[in-house]
Subunit: 198 residues, 2 copies
Amino acid sequence: MSTEEKVPDPEGAKPAAEEPPPPSKGPNLFTADVVLRGLLFASTVTAIVVLVTSNQTEETSVPGVPFPVPVEAKFNNSPAFVYFLVALSVACLYSIITALASISVVLKPDFSASFLLFFVLWDVVMLGIMASAIGTAGGVGYIALKGNSHVRWAKICHVYDKFCQHIGASVAVSFLAAFVLILLITLSIVSLHKKIPQ
Amino acid sequence: MSTEEKVPDPEGAKPAAEEPPPPSKGPNLFTADVVLRGLLFASTVTAIVVLVTSNQTEETSVPGVPFPVPVEAKFNNSPAFVYFLVALSVACLYSIITALASISVVLKPDFSASFLLFFVLWDVVMLGIMASAIGTAGGVGYIALKGNSHVRWAKICHVYDKFCQHIGASVAVSFLAAFVLILLITLSIVSLHKKIPQ
């Protein structure tokens, strides 16, 4: 009914044909951004909790002692896992700060392009930190699992099974965090690209 | 003199005022891109050469043998260093392919925006692979250097000094490669950002 009442407006039609359509996807983009940053927060917190609860005490034989004694496997006995924890903590803190910034852009979308650029560059740096920490923890965790007979580094996961399961689960959840960071970067880049006049 | 002869042209002035200035930085951007990709190639090739020439044979004591025997330290005895080599090789091959693609854009700059998007997404993935490989090699190399008394993993770098120096140098050069990847990503993102009409 209302479509028949429409009258063509020559003044209104001209700018619509010449100007490119305004980027109306700003709020949706930043809503997706906030959701992904929430997921980044959740995955890093999960990985941190799983990592710090990995300690396990088992009776093992120690050289010089004739009987097995309780020995605790702690993640902070390995510099690799300490670095992993630090990287996860930094990523967790970063996810909180950027989620709050992203929410502020959703509420007041004036500075979206600048925010987008600022976010994506830091997201790239954070991906580098997270990926290197996953590599470090994964590499040392693999030696704990399989050992290395060439240098006589004994495997420990057949004794400290719960410890190794926690380390493995923490690395797996961190993979999800790294994937979320790649998604965040892709989202920002594609939206920067779409705003270019073709 | 010639300025006085200029006659205002209403038809020519109108589109100049409405259209944004054409992105003239395309060729310069891609020239910098080609240079950085050349640097990526050089650094990955250097890291590969330094890594594969790390093998070292030393007289060491072996359990069950009463006298020292020659034992070779090889990088491919450790899955961590094999992964490191694979990641470096992939990054090296990637640098060749993308440098050729970037040169083709310099010669024929029609598809620069699409190339930029395609490049930057793969650069991000490549950064993730390189950073995780650096973390893996660095983590295992750190155990080789310092050992870990808690799990009785003995250090080996006091015996295999040349081997460890090569591993360390390869990791250091790979850091440069990762930094070049971050520069490439930054270059692409900033140029995507600058093309947005403000």
